[in-house]
């Protein structure tokens, strides 16, 4: 049973990340006004993924946690992808 004590993350880091998140929000709104057809949704999802990784790794301190936490998150994402993906084997080919 090993204890992981976090070093405090400097205020500056958090504020920088916050700023990046604001910029990304503006970008995603701006991009959505450009017509890219089906690509719109993928661009929006990509930006959302970048934003959420910033939140998960920095705000939620996942960067500082042990491997266990990261493997757990990976498992979760795989499972969610499977749930959505396999549902689409029905929906897309019906």
């Amino acid at each position: 049973m090993t204890e992981h004590k976090h070093e405090p993350v400097p205020f500056r880091t958090f504020i920088l990340i916050w700023f990046a998140l604001l910029v990304l929000t503006v970008v995603t709104v701006a991009v959505s006004r450009v017509h890219l057809g089906a690509w719109n949704i993928w661009v929006a999802l990509t930006i959302a993924s970048i934003k959420s990784s910033l939140v998960v790794f920095i705000f939620m301190h996942l960067r500082q946690e042990s491997k266990l936490f990261k493997i757990g998150l990976l498992t979760l994402l795989i499972i969610v992808a499977i749930f959505i993906g396999l549902t689409f084997t029905d929906v897309l080919y019906r």
Binding site: M1, T2, E3, H4, H6, P8, V9, P10, F11, F14, I15, I17, W18, L21, L22, T25, T28, V29, S32, R33, H35, A38, N40, I41, A44, L45, I47, A48, K51, S52, V55, V56, I58, F59, M60, H61, E65, S66, L68, F69, G72, L73, L76, I79, V80, F83, I84, T87, F88, V91, L92
Partner: protein, 207 residues
């Protein structure tokens, strides 16, 4: 032994990492909960791409964007609160918690105005006006209301949780070397933010 950092039964069984890990596991369950709605959404989008875009136009993008900024900022303040408590700046921690709660309330008020406007237009689950607009648009708004409603419910819980922790901080029960409860509440709050990060483009920005 602690429940999410609550009062320990005996000091030698304290396991902060375990408590955080438990909280992460709980967050996984929340993600799956929302993923059920995202499955419905993605299937709807695949079936009715035009109608979803059309329905998305009816949503007010300003409300959506402002709420996004509000939530991102509240995420920042609660993250800062952890650094503050680690540095034993109790006063600052408390203030940051209050700002977070304030932003949560702003978010809900915003949501209230947004929804009343839409309901005023006769757009709500089961309404006849909605039924007239055809299946695609109905599906979009049903999902929008249920997803955003569930998310709003989480905001409510998260805000309450942070308020409780703030009281405990003020009472000195959550301190600079026993702050897992604050950390876990912050984790929960970030999750609420994460869900919105996906909800926002999917519902407000489809073109």
């Amino acid at each position: 032994m602690i429940i999410k950092g609550l009062l320990p039964m005996s000091i030698e069984h304290r396991d902060d990492t375990g408590a955080r890990f438990g909280m992460w596991l709980f967050l996984y369950t929340e993600v799956i909960l929302f993923s059920g709605l995202f499955i419905l959404y993605s299937v709807g989008l695949a079936k009715f791409p035009q109608q979803f875009a059309e329905a998305s136009h009816k949503l007010n993008i300003y409300f959506g964007t402002i709420n996004t900024l509000v939530l991102l900022t509240s995420s920042l303040t609660i993250a800062l609160a952890i650094t503050a408590i680690q540095k034993n700046k109790i006063k600052l921690t408390l203030n940051l918690c209050f700002v977070t709660i304030f932003l949560a309330i702003v978010f809900l008020i915003n949501k209230y105005f947004e929804w009343s406007a839409e309901i005023g237009h006769g757009i709500y689950p089961g309404s006849e006006h909605l039924a007239e607009m055809g299946p695609g648009i109905t599906a979009f708004f049903n999902l929008y209301y249920f997803t955003a409603g569930l998310h709003g419910f989480h905001i409510l819980i998260g805000g309450t949780l942070i308020a409780v922790v703030a009281t405990l901080i003020a009472k000195g029960k959550v301190t600079s070397d026993r702050y897992t409860l604050l950390e876990n509440s912050a984790l929960y709050w970030h999750l609420v933010d994460l869900v919105w990060i996906f909800l926002f483009p999917l519902y407000y920005l489809i073109l």
